[in-house]
């Protein structure tokens, strides 16, 4: 019996779905911890520091867990003037939007909660709902810093949604499918052979370099990380739209931020770096090896984002908008044109 013939389902659709969603949720929660740890450690070593050292006995590995527990213990404050219902719901909306992205990301040919035909469309649409949560948080906090931060975030996320979508669209055109599994499979198809060895290349190396650059820039902006962290901007707005949050609700924003970093890095890995596909390994084994492969590729992207964070200062709001509307969107459109042209002609 080969791996591909393994029956990974129970036969009951709803039971399958619940199990898969639960696994994806656990996956998101647990994966955020090593990423937080990586951020602490990687940035520390880039900055002449040691980073967490004592928590957990060695290397400070338990630091993210300790931080999480600390958040759980803290009082969940709601400002007196805040719109309590909206204020309390906002972090949930942000986390939900992020979580919903994980549903369609394939970690292997079958290791995916639901492989939709409109996977990438669903993904980009559902992740935009996060903006709503951010606006809710900014508006309901009854704090001017929160309000400015929330509006900045909304402006920024809308501006960078467009280049993100246009860059993804270029990939969709080349692959001829919106299904994320389909996109990975399209990248796995051999382009040519050297001797008798079939060679296939990820989209990054077959004409999608511009889309890749646009997508990664827009992704960093979507994540509101330095140099695009205007919505937070500690030195101006104290903490932007999360200024008033504390305890578990702050932790939810925090978790949502890291979860969406992981989610979008996985998307980059899927769209441009070949996803779970890897040469040499036979296709039968991809269900087992695939998750590790795609996470390895995603972790490269995550490292890149952390690297950027410790290198650059933040942009100004107007510079940020100029960059999106004057540079990225026209570039993405031209790129789309070129890709379509090549697709039609070749």
């Amino acid at each position: 019996m080969t791996v591909a013939e393994l029956n990974l389902t129970t036969g009951y659709f709803w039971l399958d779905t619940v199990i898969k969603v639960a696994i994806a949720l656990g996956f998101m929660m647990t994966l955020a911890l090593p990423v937080i740890y990586a951020e602490l450690k990687v940035m520390a070593h880039m900055q002449n520091r040691v980073g967490p050292y004592y928590a957990g006995g060695r290397f400070g590995w338990a630091q993210p867990i300790a931080d999480g527990l600390k958040f759980l213990q803290k009082e969940d404050l709601v400002p007196r003037d805040a719109d309590a219902a909206v204020y309390k719901a906002a972090p949930a909306v942000v986390v939900m939007a992020t979580f919903a992205v994980f549903i369609v990301i394939p970690l292997g040919p079958q290791v995916v909660v639901r492989d939709m035909d409109i996977g990438i469309f669903y993904l980009l649409a559902i992740s935009s709902i996060g903006v709503l949560g951010v606006l809710m948080a900014g508006w309901s906090s009854a704090n001017k810093y929160s309000l400015i931060g929330g509006l900045r975030a909304a402006g920024q996320l809308i501006a960078y949604e467009l280049p993100l979508i246009l860059a993804a669209l270029a990939v969709v055109i080349q692959a001829g499918t919106m299904s994320l599994v389909g996109i990975v499979e399209a990248q796995g198809e051999p382009l040519f052979t050297i001797g008798s060895v079939p060679i296939s290349l990820p989209y990054l190396l077959t004409g999608q370099i511009v889309s890749f650059v646009i997508f990664v820039i827009a992704m960093v902006a979507e994540l509101s990380r330095i140099p695009f962290d205007m919505p937070f901007a500690e030195s101006e707005l104290t903490m932007g739209y999360v200024t008033e949050y504390s305890g578990i609700r702050f932790a939810m924003f925090f978790l949502g931020e890291y979860a969406s970093l992981i989610a979008l890095s996985l998307v980059v890995a899927t769209l441009f770096l070949g996803g779970y596909w890897i040469p040499v390994i036979p296709d039968d084994w991809l269900n087992l090896i695939g998750p590790m492969v795609v996470m390895g590729k995603a972790s490269l992207v995550i490292f890149f984002v952390l690297w950027i964070r410790s290198t650059f200062p933040r942009l100004r709001e107007d510079q940020l908008q100029t960059m999106a509307w004057h540079w990225l969107i026209p570039l993405a459109l031209v790129n789309l044109l070129v890709i379509s042209f090549v697709k039609v002609v070749v």
């Binding site: 880039m46 002449n48 400015i148 500690e234 030195s235 104290t238 650059f312 200062p313 510079q319």
Partner: protein, 396 residues
């Protein structure tokens, strides 16, 4: 079109524009806020992201040093004055002690003057390195902080090695500096002042400081985004800078090469070679680059001074109980942040009748309402940070 029509058209336009006008939001920045360096409060009226007017409120950190000085003896006041600008504690001691010496007619020995010079320059390096680290941090760049503060710590260790204090040296005495080994008659004659090996360590540290300057040059000044955030932001023309009484690097960045170390030296600055750094534009980027270049110049001065320092006594002959004759004196010196002056009025006796402190940051901040008007909120932080102020220095 008749007059009536024009009037009607005008009225309708007015009506429309009135209708669309939205109320400005009052944004209260501080006193507790990450970018106000302590307890500065800015009441900003903002229209979206644009500031329409701003009113700085100071005094949250008023410690009454001028009043306290009236009930302290001259020797005790040195403890107060180095707490005014705590980032460069030693530098704010020097003009005070020189003013007292001037009133008493005491000339400190050569070696004491050179030690004052070296420590003042070390204080300048420490202060500017804090700026090198805090300013990029305000713009969102985290990494330069750790590089600059690492080497600032080395400089503080040097200061500690001589004076015993990292921040508050309290090292100046009327007529010289504190003799810290043995004491008594012996120290007056023989230099038992600087710890063994300190000069060699200073040379080494200055090399490290110069190399961190190169790091900052490539990491921060050469950074495209840093340039985008600072070039052309918060331009202060030379005339405006003079009008508001700016001094120090803020003034020199606007193209006025005015440096009290050259103009009115009360330490042996004429005997060392250094350049007065000035740039032309007067924007935030220039203010950053001027300070970076000044660190290099200061390191140069320290390296020269370490070679030139003569041996000799540390304190001139002064009475045990310091009594200052009747008179007044104003002495100003080039603090890392700019002109720092003390105006002492003595009615005779052990305590000053009145001491006015001309602190640098207070004057440097007076330009805020002018410079921050019509700026964007993100630029507020970029401009505010570039003025390099310390709240203790503003409120005294």
């Amino acid at each position: 079109m008749t007059d009536m029509d024009i009037a009607m058209k005008h009225r309708s336009e007015v009506a429309v524009s009135v209708e669309l006008q939205t109320a400005d939001m009052t944004l209260n920045i501080g006193p507790q806020h990450p970018s106000t360096h302590g307890v500065l409060r800015l009441i900003a009226k903002v229209d979206g992201e644009r500031i329409t007017s701003i009113e700085p409120v100071i005094g949250y950190m008023h410690r009454g040093y001028e009043k306290l000085s009236e009930v302290r003896t001259y020797a005790q006041i040195t403890t107060l004055v180095n707490r005014i600008d705590w980032v460069a504690g030693f530098a704010s001691e020097v003009p005070y002690i020189v003013a007292v010496e001037k009133l008493m007619g005491v000339e400190p020995p050569e070696r004491a003057q050179w030690i004052r010079l070296i420590l003042s320059e070390l204080a300048r390096i420490a202060s500017h390195l804090v700026f090198m680290s805090s300013y990029p941090l305000e713009l969102g760049a985290i990494t330069p902080l750790f590089h600059a503060l690492r080497d600032r710590e080395r400089v503080l260790e040097l200061i500690e090695g001589v004076t015993g204090g990292r921040f508050h040296p309290n090292f100046n005495r009327v007529g010289g500096v504190k003799p810290n080994a043995g004491g008594g008659k012996q120290t007056r004659n023989v230099s038992m002042d600087i710890p063994a090996g300190w000069f060699a360590e200073t040379r080494e540290t200055m090399e490290k400081v110069l190399s961190v300057c190169d790091d900052i040059d490539t990491l921060v000044v050469g950074n495209e985004l840093f340039r985008a955030r600072t070039v052309g932001v918060g331009i202060i023309p030379a005339a405006k800078a003079k009008e508001y009484g700016l001094s120090g690097p803020n003034l020199r960045a606007s193209g006025v090469p005015f440096d009290l170390r050259k103009e009115e030296p009360h330490l042996p600055y004429p005997e060392v070679e250094f350049d007065v750094i000035s740039t032309n534009t007067g924007d935030s980027n220039d203010r950053y680059r001027v300070r970076l270049a000044e660190i290099r110049e200061s390191a140069k001065i320290v390296l020269q001074a370490v070679d030139k320092i003569p041996s000799g006594p540390l304190v001139a002959k002064v009475p045990r109980v310091i009594k200052v004759p009747k008179g007044q004196a104003y002495v100003r010196g080039e603090n890392p942040k700019g002109e720092f002056g003390y105006y002492i009025i003595s009615e005779g006796g052990q305590k000053p009748y009145r001491m006015k402190i001309r602190s640098t940051s207070f004057s440097n901040l007076s330009i805020l309402p002018w410079i921050l008007k019509d700026q964007l909120v993100p630029d507020l932080v970029a401009i505010l940070g570039s003025l390099d102020f310390v709240l203790g220095d503003v409120d005294r």
